[in-house]
Symmetry: C2
Subunit: 309 residues, 2 copies
């Protein structure tokens, strides 16, 4: 059985400055949970990797915000994500107190220990915990093994592989999940991006390799071309025999979101496909010419050659 | 190695009454071929399954139209598709004379013989031939086996499985390709629709099962939510090691198409996902309420229950 995590409010926040109206957020969380989604990720705590001033509520994740969510869905459905460098140990008991029960740690590959120490503390408090390993497409495999083993030792319930650049192929996802499983006994999760249109194929490959936690977002709303699309994923699980999700309700939520949130419109921009093809980050998009897609492609190829050299 | 077939001008025609400007068509064919795509399907001969009056050039495929195309790309890249009931044997030599070299026969499952006789004639003339078996998701497996064996006996070079409703899962595609391979020695092709977002995953599964011909269209432009997206597919093949395609050129063509053809805008409409989920045809969309997606979903579920009863 798959544990599904709805990342719309957090990853979708990259498209609207994390500024979802509170009324929308409450409706979204309620409907997602009512449709059977196991966890709703409601916010970053104290900012994303590079905290920005002036972001909306899903970019800061204050205690009051968590409490508002805990008023409409059970704490056992409320997930927060954070970069360890952005918090102090005081944040953990406060988030728990406010009503969150799952906390995800974006681990810094170069210096994981401070984050892992916080994870141990979160587990002591009673949180379910995950380690999120970002940009796995570019991570040295020995570093991935080391991080996975350390995460398992620290007691993380789940190790998430994040294909931040949306550049992995299903075969590669299968091998990465297999690798991490072989050096830890944690549950494995996948956070997919859709640059190459492969988010769904990659989620299927991850599950075939034994992953059991899958991130997705309604209408795919997320950074760049977005994430695995929740409605497609639940439709797949439903036809594949995993019952228990209310697809009609998720589609209604998707329709409501199309109406309410201008930035949620799904699309597959050609420049994001180029980024995925060359395994470049969304931050590299600014380095590429935007006048013509042919020029974007050529410049990305050159940038990759330079990076690889 | 995969043989790629660009169906944009034909299947995309369902969105714009088959009315592409000739100047656009010539540009499209030239660029698709220049990017390395093996075949460009330029039109239906004498109409689609239900011929409509007043359709544009890619819905009729006249001799003059074929000749115009043969003026810009080699005949060995020009494909026509037809429903046998729409043509006489005179059409075949005329299409060959005008410059087409691949002809695809949409076989009627109930009465395949007239079509197969035409296919034998096409092969005698010198055409490469394919049989296209439509709505395979709803076809009795014994009928599929029978049609496949008859197609092989008739000398078809390729047997295409068309997931017309866009409802197949990758596992099902794998099994269907395996089944057809086991009763014929024809090459196997897949024509995917993207209702469930699975076109790309299904193409990958088809190839894993031994299929070697894959249909796709630029920006996915095709009936309903469209087909496998050419630029995603060639990006996948490129990263997977099948070189020889000019992805930058295909992306430029996609960009040009976005600019020139209003109906080409890619999207994944929620009602089409509902159709795919319940294995309903695009013709069933008119039977479903359009006021709210939740109602569309409920009505589709009821319609399916009625159909299955």
């Amino acid at each position: 059985m798959i544990t599904n995590l709805d990342v719309t409010l957090r990853d979708g926040g990259y498209r609207n400055n994390f500024d979802f109206p509170l009324e929308y957020v409450l409706h979204h969380a309620r409907e997602s949970v009512a449709a059977g989604v196991e966890w709703v990720e409601i916010a970053y705590r104290n900012g994303s990797f590079k905290p920005q001033p002036g972001v909306g509520p899903t970019g800061t994740g204050t205690d009051d915000y968590i409490r508002a969510l805990a008023g409409v869905v059970p704490p056992e459905r409320i997930c927060m994500i954070l970069h360890p460098k952005n918090i102090t140990t005081e944040d953990l008991p406060r988030m728990y107190e406010a009503g969150a029960r799952l906390v995800r740690f974006c681990l810094a590959a170069g210096a994981p220990e401070p984050g892992l120490e916080m994870l141990r503390e979160a587990a002591r408090i009673g949180f379910t915990t995950t380690v999120n390993i970002t940009r796995v497409s570019q991570l040295d495999r020995r570093v991935l093994v080391e991080l996975s083993a350390l995460s398992a030792d620290a007691g993380s319930d789940v190790i998430y592989l994040a294909d931040s650049n949306g550049s992995l192929l299903p075969d590669e996802v299968f091998r990465l999940v297999t690798l991490v499983r072989s050096v830890s006994d944690c549950a494995i999760g996948l956070h997919a991006h859709n640059n190459l249109g492969l988010a769904l194929a990659n989620a299927i490959a991850a599950v075939e390799a034994g992953a059991t936690w899958i991130d997705s977002s309604i209408l795919g709303m997320g950074k760049g071309p977005g994430n695995l699309i929740t409605e497609q994923w639940l439709a797949y699980l439903g036809r594949g025999g995993q019952a228990g999700y209310d697809l009609g309700r998720i589609l209604s939520l998707a329709h409501h979101m199309e109406t309410e949130i201008a930035e949620a419109k799904p699309s597959l921009p050609l420049p994001d496909l180029v980024l995925g093809h060359f395994d470049l980050s969304v931050e590299d998009r600014g380095k590429l010419p935007a006048d013509h897609i042919g020029n974007t492609f050529s410049a990305a190829r050159e940038l990759t050659a330079v990076t690889a050299a």
